[in-house]
Symmetry: C2
Subunit: 1024 residues, 2 copies
């Protein structure tokens, strides 16, 4: 029997009430999420415990779809649970204990969701809500590909760091109902009492969507916003925190209305957010203060006192044994699975050395739920050893008569030796006392019990979180340790978790406890439970299954390495599930389809057999997926209406999983369809004026202003790039339109589709194909077309010049505007297209279009910055560092030429006779340098005395017709001169006493040494 909407709510109320939660009500003013309800926003602050559950209809004007989308609405219903502190917090008596994830999964069972029949996944989600200065780490919970819950450990709220941390569980009730009933859309599902959800809500959805998008009066909404925020101030001034919070919420909702109406520019947005954040912060701080003054009335009794000390073993087997450490965690983000792996791989060998422990094989594994370290043949104890220990300076240790002073006696005592055993040695120019200390090797268990907490502590993540009162930070909460040396538990406690011999199995099997009898049996036990510990094995299995699945529909899966690696880090037991979608969606832009499948859903798309994209994609690696996916637009094969998802677990209930995933993808495509259809009501050109509402940068104007500058600059670049007449016209048009897609709904929704959408909409608006292609290429590092090249260079140069002039050059690691990337995006295309191009000139032209002055020194700075990137690019291309340096020292303003020079120089350096060539040339240069001469005097033939001297002059006269045009020309000349040069230096004393003669000889050498001008500075080469 299908579930009803209200029955889900009633079941959750019962479940959480019976698990110790307060049940409260939705808030009485429009909120975007249950988090805004004071039962969360305020109550997570401060030390008082708080367990609450409530329904929260959440209003998000931007999500309105006129009641047409199956699962996206301006009002959806959340079920919000706050557990504070983490119910698994506090020291565990032993091993594993019930955590919030387990409670949550139990609640799903109460709703009738059997994890064995579905694919339930905890997918990394770093929650952040800048409007209320809040953030936390956790997951989206996916049920068969559908996000049904947000699960977050709050770290901060209203700018206040939380202690203890609260667990927030936010169920998406509509999506749960859809999943439970295996429905296509929410509308025909029962709300209750025989009435459907649609019958109650659908008309309202239409009305509100229309209101938010079309009717709400912008001017009035702005006034409301101002009134609310003034009222919030007034309340705060009187210490009325809940009333103040009410008005913060009203401001926030009104802001959302304005946003849905498209009335907020980027610059304004920042101001709005600042204001809301400031108010939220004052409310939060005020509330903390208030609760403190009230002496935390809900803080009923202090938690149980701290855990007892560690228990150490008394006896121990003395043979070398296998050691296993497994750190059990709540689902790690995919990238953290790798991060932890790398750190452990580096750290373990050095750690063992530091611990004086002999060992055999070291193997490291990581999955989303566990980090495992296996050490073979770990010695049972440290060897006994003698350490030389340094003490105080000799004159402090002994007086001049050799009698021990207090410092000396102290040192001796500390090391448990007689002062007679101290000896004086020199070190670093000083004299110190030393002694040899005999260290008795300690048993390994004792050593490890001390070392393991520190090892775990040493694992660092880009973002980490706290979750219990241990104050420990980790990527996600640690829930268990297996630490076995042979069959003996190495006892330790860290992060309030105590080590043991119990691991846990797969999520879909309810994470059953797995007793590990001994370290040797660990791998068998884990494998038996279905978990694939080794990431490479998981990857291989995924590739195999995906390929096989694709072949079933006569297609070929598109497998990118980045996605493959991520997916392998999301599961412990991969099972491919193939699903389909409605063929009508194939009319959507291919990139939209792929982007949705990959980015949102982590599916592998399937295309018709015939293209060779797979290997290409893998070769490109995941570094820059938007770029690589764009590249697929060339020579692509049509997509099939299929996708392949990777499920965590076996194939029980696989049909349910498939249907769930199909539903989700269908809804997402319906959403994209909605945007595209809405967007296509206007031509691309018609979006352009709206760019005035998007701020590029306050000093540099709107995106419309930028767009106009690009247009001007393209005009200047056309002759510099040597565009044909037609190309020139198209380039101007492309420049005119290039940014217009930024204000379409589709790009607003999925920013990564910028350019791609511009291309598609340009085509559908009747623009020339070349123009459309150029628009599509603008976010690719290297556009293929010359038209695209012109637009792209203009765009990037404009950013570089404008932002440098505005004082926003990157500093240190900070590069908020991605200018390093822009600079690479200038040089790389010029290199690949091999176009000669005067960067200095281009920068000057761009400078003229800027609304602020770009001084000469700034222009120079910009050019140097670009050169810096050019160096990096050339290094990446595999050229030798010294060769690159040598060339760039002399020529950098024309990257294509620089590359040619580097290429030539590098091949010269690879000649067998290179050292003699370089040596000959170097002699010329060196003697000039040591004489401090420029060597550019005119040669007086009369002063040429020696034969070798005359000979060299003749050789130069014969071979050097003009300044060489490139490195090859230059070095060929040098090559010819080498015999003469050698003879010259062997026989002739350049530094003659007669100053005139000396001058003349230096001039002669100078004619050779200066040949490299503007080509390369050979002095920078190795062996010079």
């Amino acid at each position: 029997m299908p579930s009803s909407f209200q029955s889900i709510i009633l079941k959750l109320q019962d479940f959480w009430a019976s698990h110790g939660c307060l049940i409260t009500q939705p808030y009485y003013t429009q909120v975007g999420a249950g988090t805004m309800n004071p039962a969360t926003f305020l109550r997570v602050l401060g030390p008082e415990p708080w367990n609450v559950a409530y329904v929260e209809p959440s209003v998000r004007p931007d999500d309105g779809r006129y009641g047409e989308n199956p699962n996206r609405f301006q009002k959806h219903t959340q079920y919000q649970v706050i557990l504070k502190p983490d119910p698994a917090a506090g020291p565990a008596a032993s091993g594993v204990r019930e955590g919030p994830q387990e409670l949550y999964l139990e609640s799903l069972k109460a709703l009738g969701i059997d994890p064995r029949q579905h694919d339930i996944r905890f997918v990394e989600d770093n929650w952040e809500q800048p409007a209320i200065a809040a953030w936390g780490l956790g997951w989206e919970v996916w049920l068969d590909g559908q996000e049904i819950t947000q699960f977050t450990y709050f770290q901060q709220m209203g700018g206040v760091t939380l202690n203890p941390v609260s667990v927030e569980i936010t169920y998406g009730l509509e999506r749960i109902l859809i999943a439970l009933n295996n429905a296509k859309a929410i509308w025909d599902e029962e709300w209750g009492a025989g009435v459907t959800y649609g019958e109650i809500i659908r008309r309202e959805e239409f009305e509100h969507s229309k209101y938010y998008y079309e009717v709400a009066d912008v001017e009035r909404a702005r006034q409301m916003y101002d009134l609310y925020s003034a009222e919030a101030d007034a309340c705060l001034a009187q210490g009325l925190l809940v009333p103040a919070h009410d008005y913060v919420l009203k401001s926030s909702h009104t802001f959302n209305i304005l946003d849905a109406r498209g009335a907020i520019s980027v610059a304004e947005r920042q101001a709005f957010f600042r204001r809301m954040r400031e108010l939220a912060r004052r409310v939060a701080e005020g509330y903390e203060e208030q609760r403190k003054e009230l002496e935390y009335p809900l803080l009923k009794e202090s938690q149980k006192s701290k855990v007892k000390g560690q228990i150490l073993p008394s006896t121990f087997d003395l043979r070398p044994s296998t050691f296993i450490l497994e750190i059990g965690v709540e689902e790690l983000p995919a990238s953290d699975v790798d991060t932890a792996y790398e750190q452990l791989t580096q750290r373990i060998p050095s750690l063992l050395k530091e611990l004086y422990l002999d060992y055999g094989d070291i193997r490291i594994f990581s999955t989303p739920r566990r980090l495992a370290v296996s050490i073979g043949n770990l010695s049972p104890r440290q060897p006994d050893r003698e350490d030389l220990v340094k003490g105080p300076p000799a004159d402090k240790a002994f007086d001049k008569d050799g009698i021990a002073l207090p410092a000396g006696m102290g040192f001796a005592k500390k090391n448990n030796v007689d002062t007679k055993a101290l000896e004086v040695r020199e070190e670093g120019g000083g004299k110190y006392v030393f002694t040899v200390v005999k260290q008795k090797g300690r048993p390994t268990p004792e050593v490890l019990a001390e070392a393991l907490p520190k090892l775990i502590e040493s694992i660092k993540f880009e973002k980490s979180m706290r979750w219990n009162d241990s104050g420990v930070a980790f990527s996600r909460p640690i829930r268990w340790y297996v630490a076995l040396l042979g069959d003996m538990v190495i006892p330790f406690e860290y992060a309030s978790v105590v080590s043991g011999d119990i691991s846990r199995g797969l999520r879909p099997y309810d994470s059953p406890e797995i007793k590990i009898p001994s370290a040797d049996k660990y791998f068998d036990a884990i494998r038996e439970s279905g978990i694939v510990l080794d990431k490479e094995e998981r990857k291989a299995s995924i590739v195999e299954q995906v390929k096989q699945a694709a072949s079933l529909v006569g297609g070929q899966a598109i497998i990118e390495e980045g996605l493959l690696s991520e997916v392998a880090n999301l599961i412990e037991m991969p099972t491919a599930v193939m699903g389909g979608f409605d063929k009508e969606y194939l009319t959507l832009p291919r990139d939209v389809l792929i982007s949705v499948m990959k980015k949102h859903q982590r599916y592998f798309p399937v295309q018709r057999v015939g293209a060779t994209l797979q290997s290409q994609s893998v070769a490109l690696s995941g570094k820059d997926t938007s770029q690589s996916s764009s590249r697929l637009t060339q020579g692509e094969s049509p997509l099939l209406a299929n996708f392949i998802a990777i499920r965590n677990g076996d194939d029980i209930g696989v049909d349910t999983v498939r249907q769930g995933n199909e539903h989700v993808l269908g809804a997402r495509f319906a959403d994209a369809n909605f945007f595209v259809r809405e967007d296509l009501k206007l031509k691309l050109e018609e979006y352009r004026p709206k760019l005035s509402t998007l701020t590029f940068h306050t000093k540099l104007g709107s995106m419309l202003d930028k767009s106009e500058r690009i247009e001007k600059l393209v005009n200047d670049l056309i002759p510099m790039l040597g565009l044909e007449k037609d190309e020139a016209i198209f380039a101007c048009r492309a420049a005119y339109l290039c940014k217009a897609d930024l204000v379409t709904q589709m790009v607003t929704e999925m920013t990564s589709l910028q350019g791609i959408i511009g291309r598609e909409y340009a085509l559908r608006s009747g623009e020339q194909k070349d123009i459309a292609v150029a628009i599509g290429e603008q976010y690719q590092t290297v556009p293929q077309s010359k038209i695209g090249l012109a637009v792209t260079l203009a765009d990037r140069l404009d950013s570089l010049v404008g932002l440098f002039a505005a004082g926003l050059a990157p500093t240190g690691a900070k590069d908020p505007f991605g200018l390093r990337r822009s600079a690479i995006g200038v040089v790389q295309p010029l290199i690949e297209h091999n176009v000669d191009f005067d960067l200095a000139e281009a920068v000057k032209k761009s400078a003229k279009t800027q609304p602020i002055e770009v001084k000469d020194d700034v222009q120079k700075q910009i050019l140097e910055f670009i050169t810096g990137r050019l160096k990096v690019v050339l290094g990446d291309l595999g050229y030798k560092h010294d060769v690159v340096d040598a060339v760039l020292a002399e020529q950098s303003a024309n990257p294509a030429a620089s590359v040619r020079a580097v290429k030539q120089l590098q091949s010269w350096t690879e000649r067998e006779d290179w050292s003699s060539i370089l040596d000959g040339y170097a002699r010329c240069v060196r003697i000039l340098k040591s004489a401090g001469a420029e060597g550019n005097h005119k040669i007086n033939q009369k002063l040429l005395v020696e034969a070798e001297e005359k000979n060299l002059h003749e050789a130069i006269q014969k071979n050097v017709k003009a300044q060489p045009a490139n490195v090859d020309e230059f070095l060929n000349v040098v090559l010819k001169l080498i015999p003469s040069i050698t003879a010259f230096f062997d026989k002739v004393l350049v530094m003659a006493e007669d100053q005139k003669v000396k001058q003349n000889r230096l001039a002669l050498v100078g004619q050779i040494g200066n040949l490299s001008h503007s080509l390369a500075d050979l002095s920078r080469l190795e062996g010079f």
Copy 2:
């Protein structure tokens, strides 16, 4: 184990979900009641069925008490249920069926409220919400004196008449929790999970109270209101009804904030309400239209088809039998219990005559749940009879030859006689054909089955309601009929209820079915079930129990007839319950205490033995309770901290009932305490300027303006009333302060305490006692003090003069400003104080103070209006109509004098020799009249001829020194003249032929006849 707040909610959710209700969520914007949620406001419109239940935290800024009141808060939590249509609707298969009240009582049981252990009462409540143009009839449900639920049959919403009617059940969850846990206040009761309500809410209550009363910015709130209402317009223009409704709600909440801040004047209030009502109406009408266009999607299947025809009996016992009709109803309002009783008492005998049915005793009874008619010895059938039936005019029935024409034949056929049986008779000057029709008597059951529905239909109420699709209107829903003639059911159907032999017992016993075996057994069956059918018996029982209870605490109950009668109509089985309250509340003004006990709670107050107030109160009858209670302020005996409630049912669980009632009263007194304490932060004088925000009437200014006019007029009245110097000073001060209490919170909350609060606050503000007393007297019909008299007269005259001038004189039955009462309030005090007073002068003085012109004819009209009331007062005082007329014809502008005159004249009329006195005097007057003479010529002694003539002249000369000053003086003169008058008329011919003689004689008679001038017009007396 005590209940928790959340467990109540969860239980109600389960209960209503399992009874076919949708469970939805509170609304996302602040509402004052669940009614405003669109799940009620919109869904009750139109024909679609709708059953829903939801929690609604209801925000009422005015109810904020800073978290200090035990059960009054700015936010309380409602549980709202809508049943549409009435679940008892549709024809019942037979007899009684489950109605919404029964469902509701079951839900209370689900909460653990056993009706046997409590006193559950349905107390009339006519719900009205002008801001949304909505009304309905129903009850407050009281649990042990505490209102815990509002139960309403909606009749109109947004100005739209509802069809079908919806049942609205609104639980007050906090109060239910207090009752369930027998708690004193909500604060320490558990919300859930071990956390108390107070721990969650109390601080918030404080903050919001402070915000609403002190901090909210009036100017900003006004702006918000305007923005909301403009936005509502914009939505309505686009047909966006839910968004429009959202803004109506926001307007409404903002209005409530302004109101709590005291920023709304009376005149403004009207404008605000008009605006909100207009918007609400447009939303409602738009929604009806929208649903119609959507073809009522929720209207799934038409209800079952109409009921079968009535079943009539085939055989019937032929002896006279007892007949019983019981109409079972949901609880009738107390006044409707009487109304129905009176109508049935009048109607039944005439009905039986019309039906040609012989009968014995008729007895009528009424209780809140049933109307009963018992007829003894009702004949089993009508007698056979001959009726003379009138037909068409004779000339239309027969031609001149006596041959029947079509009209004649038709008439004969219709009456089933031969045309020969027609006879011609005269009637009203015309000739018609008649025939005698023999009617065979029909069996009584058949007759009654036809007549009873009409009988029930004929019962009319001041306010009636519809509740099901029969469209029938009644005071409250009819739920069953017992209709028995002997042991036979008289079958009929009315209002979709079918008659039977099943009655229902007492509410607290779950209204068990009571089978009535035969009409004779009805009274026994009813009495056995504990119901006291006879109101007088209920009253007597109440008086006895109340007296006894009072004596237990050594006190004396204050029993007013009005309250007694009302209470007797609220219950079917009275049981007195005595409770107490905190003695500290005895410091509250006595009138406040009594008013709360009587008006709000229907309790009998208890005072110390010694006063004789009881009989006095009863004598005054309930007509004017505010007045009579005010009178108690003189010579009153101190109250005891006790009260007596009358419970419906027996004494099981009486302690619970007592405690519940004590809690309620305590909370009410705490509330009064809150107001008084808040109010006393200012002196009475300081409230006066705020009167400018209260409009008296748009043409006549604010209450402050009125107050200033009263002050001026008092100044004029001081000499007219002959006040002493001290009195004069006090009167001015009292006039200055008299209206100030109208803007205090206590009076705003309980208007009936106006004046009384003024008196109390004046005393507590340090005013002289005489001033305070005068302020307190101003709403009494007759103030006791002269100072009070001055203020009162000024106030009432100002109202009369001002409102008449504004064109608002009472017309017909309409007297919206109570001007009749004002006029009585002018004359009655003047009479009782026996002060001579020139009303015409006073009206003139008042006219001068009015802001609009008061023309002379209007002033005259005012005086006539007052005279009219004076006449009524004198009649009420027991004076003879003709005497009053006679006096008022000559003197009315000085009521005290008029009364003296009436009194004197009446005692003359009661003399044995009165007829001779009157006769003598009348002869004088009559002859003057018939001669058309005024009789005021000078007498020429020379023309006096006859002895009797001379004699009369002498007697007049001797006895009439001057125009007599009063009626006694006048009639004593007449008395002395009577012998001479008699002799004169016996012997002298007044109408002599000699005109001069005649003139002279008429002048002589005129000297007597004109003596009554300005005293009385004796011609208006009986016997004149």
